[in-house]
Structures are given as C-alpha cells and as structure tokens.
Symmetry: C2
Subunit: 85 residues, 2 copies
DNA sequence: TTGACGTGCAACCTTTGGGTTGTGTATGGT
DNA sequence: ACCATACACAACCCAAAGGTTGCACGTCAA
C-alpha cells in the first residue's frame, strides 16, 4: 500500500485516474506521456497497474478487448490516520 | 516523503516515535528489536532516520552525547489529501 | 585522563524495483 | 477470413535501496 504510493509514476497515474474514473491501459499511458511528459512503455505501465491493484487502490474490469481501470480511494483513506491523533 | 513511508521498518519507527515523542537512536533501536522483534543494527537505523529527516517527518536535536529524535506529523497531514475529494 | 558509550562515516554486498525487449493470445473491425 | 489492436507473460538489465562490517570521533563518568 505505502510502497504502491512510493513511485512518482504511479502517483501520476492516480492523478489521472482520480480525474477520469475509467480508462483503458492504453488511454492512461498516452495521457501520462502527453500531459506529464514521461517516457514510459505500456508494459511498464502494466506493471505499475499490477502494483496498484494488489494494494487495492485500482480495480480493473475486463470488457471484451479492453481493460477498464477504476480508481478507489478507500485504502488511502483508511490507512492515513495511523500516526495522526 | 511517500518513499519514506514505504519501508515497514520506518513505519514501525514512526509508531514508536508517535507514542514517545523524544527518544535517542539507541532507545529507539532497542525498542524496535524488543517490542517488534525486528533484527536490525544501529547503523541501519541511522540510515532510516536520515531518510525520515529528509522527508521532514522526524527532526533531531543534538544534546551533548545524545541525539534526540522528535516525530512531526505535519508532512503526512499535508500530503495525503492529494486524491481525496 | 582514561575508557566506555552514543554516534558518525565510508566501503562493500545483496536484493528489490522499475524498465525494456520479445513473443504470444484473444478480440473486433473490415 | 484477415489483420490490426489491446493486452498478457517471461526473460533479462541496471540502478537504487536496505543492510552489514569496520573504523573514527566526541562526550561524559570514574
């Protein structure tokens, strides 16, 4: 969970996904490259998605040929109060 | 900042430091080992402290022979609302 | 002042993480 | 039926992160 948030690329992905709730892997990759000027391959993005899914921050649903990604902020909400009184 | 929270050992350190606000490096190391059953050297702890200090989560003050560590939760508060509407 | 204690610093080792390349597979438009 | 598309899987590469070992330094009690 914390490790999932540790990478700057993944944080950018969450920025995009919190703006537009549903996107395919390809869409998201294109957006990152164009709007945030990062140079990254789709395969690398797929790995990041896997990490985010494992942490429960992103869920995905297979729709035919596409894979829709959905952002979920609950894990972040739940865990941040650990050291906050 | 996010990377500082990514390591489980550092999170345990923050647990201890949020309980007892002021501790020396030695105290903290001993506490981690005994209460959380981690096997770690003082030098490794010093590295973790350096990371936490760089992130602003822990500040330290040299008092004679000792180095007092103080927990600071402000950076955490400030940054976690990034994806929460 | 001498020696133990708490700490700082640097070189090294090992594992993990992020990335690329390459190939394979299923879907869908034409 | 065909081929481009969107994706999955696996092997490999490289840099960074976490950890250890070894030694040096300042502080303080006896």
């Amino acid at each position: 969970m914390f490790k999932a948030l540790a990478d700057p690329t993944r944080r950018l992905m969450l920025d995009e996904l919190s703006e537009r709730r549903e996107q395919t892997l390809y869409e998201l990759t294109a957006r990152l490259i164009m709007r945030h000027e990062v140079a990254i391959s789709r395969q690398a993005m797929a790995k990041h998605i896997a990490v985010l899914e494992k942490a429960g921050i992103v869920s995905s649903e297979k729709r035919g040929k596409f894979r829709m990604l959905v952002f979920n902020d609950e894990p972040i909400r739940g865990v941040m109060n650990r050291w906050l009184t």
